[in-house]
């Protein structure tokens, strides 16, 4: 594939009409969560967009993120984008393997030095020199450093790459770290989620492809367009929260009526993601719609933030012992102070000499 072609040319080469291109632009704008009024701008940008080289590296991960992406469907907007980008290395998806695959990667890195986009899924073990995850004898840590060096930008796909994710969970035996823990000198965009919503991954890629820049990010490095609002704020069950109607168990009347799942531990209020609007499985549903609270999988350390079934307002651990200890200590200290108080008062009482009128200094 010729890297010099623009996307417009590329599509027309494939026999896509101008009207088809506009269809594509409308769908892409929607995918990027841009307002429909932006479609002409998207069209203008896409027409001229150049084909970027993309290297995808998978580290300490479960392939769930890639599954999410590929599970989507046959040629669609996303796949068109993927057709257009040059996915020069993805060890799960590419046909080549072993030395040939590594060779392809090295070539892509050299040819596109300073220009390629690096996509990472999985966390990076750092403990003991990073030996807990290696590919072709090279540790993930070394590989990330090597491949990041020539990248224009890095997209950390999935909570593991973005924040450490599951491997980072206490006690983090491999010393797992996120991409941004290791690489500080490159623009990094996080697409957290376990896994992330596939349209969000492609939406971010589309944005980079369209405008050649990373979209606006929040304080956790997430694109605001998708992570700008909490699940709770966009949840169709929100009205039940406002009215104080909650499912108390997973099979009670409230659950059947689709009431708010807050009391069943839904982390929607503190989880920022697009699940409630983008939804999953081609817009079919999302966990809350299926009757289960959000577990907050796109938030840092979600695995260690208390029970999935404990309401947000409930303390994360059972403080029974501490509380008992405090009560005992309070009673003991109280008894001690009480003892001192009694002594002091008794001493005052013992020292009491009967007061007579001569003691009053009246004159």
């Amino acid at each position: 594939m010729n890297n010099d072609k623009t996307l417009g040319e590329h599509l027309r080469e494939r026999g896509i009409s101008r009207r088809g291109f506009m269809q594509f632009c409308a769908a892409t704008a929607s995918l990027m969560a841009l307002p429909p009024s932006m479609v002409p701008a998207v069209a203008a940008a896409l027409e001229k967009a150049r084909r970027p080289s993309v290297i995808w590296r998978s580290f300490q991960e479960c392939t769930g993120c890639t599954e999410s992406l590929t599970r989507s469907h046959a040629p669609t907007v996303e796949s068109l984008i993927f057709d257009h980008i040059s996915l020069d290395y993805h060890h799960t998806l590419q046909a080549a393997s072993g030395e040939a695959a590594e060779e392809a990667r090295r070539i892509a890195m050299e040819e596109n030095h300073g220009k390629y986009l690096l996509v990472v899924d999985g966390s990076i073990p750092q403990k003991d020199g990073g030996i807990y995850s290696t590919i072709a004898g090279i540790t993930n840590l070394d590989m990330l450093k090597e491949v990041a060096e020539g990248a224009a930008a890095i997209i950390a796909v999935g909570t593991c790459a973005a924040y450490g994710g599951l491997p980072y969970a206490d006690p983090n035996p491999t010393g797992a770290a996120s991409v941004s823990d290791i690489i500080q000198d490159k623009p990094i965009l996080n697409v957290p989620g376990c896994p992330p919503i596939p349209t969000v991954i492609t939406g971010v890629l589309a944005h980079y492809l369209t405008f050649g820049t990373l979209p606006e990010l929040d304080h956790l490095g997430r694109p605001k367009a998708f992570y700008g609002q909490s699940i709770h704020d966009r949840c169709y069950r929100r009205p039940f929260y406002e009215r104080g109607l909650f499912a108390e168990t997973f099979d009670d009347e409230g659950a059947k009526k689709g009431w708010c799942l807050f009391k069943l531990g839904c982390k929607g209020p503190t989880t920022y993601n697009a699940c409630a609007t983008a939804k999953w499985n081609e817009g079919t549903s999302f966990p809350i719609q299926a009757g289960h609270g959000c577990i907050g999988c796109s938030e840092p350390s979600f695995w260690d933030r208390g029970g999935f079934y404990d309401a947000l307002s409930v303390p994360t651990d059972d403080a029974g012992n501490i509380l008992l200890g405090a009560a005992v200590a309070g009673a003991a200290a109280g008894a001690a102070v009480g003892f001192m108080n009694r002594n002091k008062k008794d001493a005052a009482t013992r020292a009491h000499e009967t007061v007579t009128v001569d003691d009053l200094n009246g004159d």
Binding site: L31, V77, Y236, G283, T284
Partner: protein, 144 residues
């Protein structure tokens, strides 16, 4: 059943089961506002439904209320785009689908004619050329 969308979802009891989010009425109000704008200034508006949190059945409810108008169009370019005017004239429902039939995006356009229906400007000279080519080829055949 090769697609998840093929699984039929039917809302049996809107009141009793998963009640409305209340997002149907706000959207209808937004459409009403857009229509007024179209009348007053001739400005078109597009509303992207994928950005709206819908409860199960909300989408169907919205489409039911909007109803089916006189015009339907099918654009078969990069996948299908189905366009239909609703009962409320000037309000169009535009849904983009992948070649496999997956719904990619649905928009409500409040306009005289949805932009996608109009022929792209550059396609017309191309059409002249194409038609010329055809006529020329006929001429060549005749003269031959």
């Amino acid at each position: 059943m090769s697609h998840i969308q093929d699984i039929p979802i039917t809302v049996l009891d809107r009141q009793g089961s998963q009640a409305q989010t209340g997002n149907v009425l706000p959207i209808l109000n937004e459409i009403r506002y857009a229509l007024a704008l179209l009348v007053a200034k001739g400005t078109s508006t597009t509303i992207d439904l994928s950005a709206i949190p819908f409860a199960p059945g909300d989408r169907e409810e919205l489409e039911r209320i909007l109803g089916q108008g006189e015009v339907s169009a099918l654009i078969d370019a990069l996948g299908e785009t189905r366009i239909r005017e609703t009962d409320y004239r000037g309000v169009w429902l535009v849904s983009h689908h992948s070649p496999q039939g997956d719904n990619l995006a649905t928009q409500i356009e409040v306009t005289r004619t949805p932009s996608l229906v109009s022929t792209p400007e550059q396609d017309i000279p191309d059409a002249v050329d194409a038609l010329d080519d055809y006529l020329n080829s006929q001429l060549t055949q005749e003269s031959a």
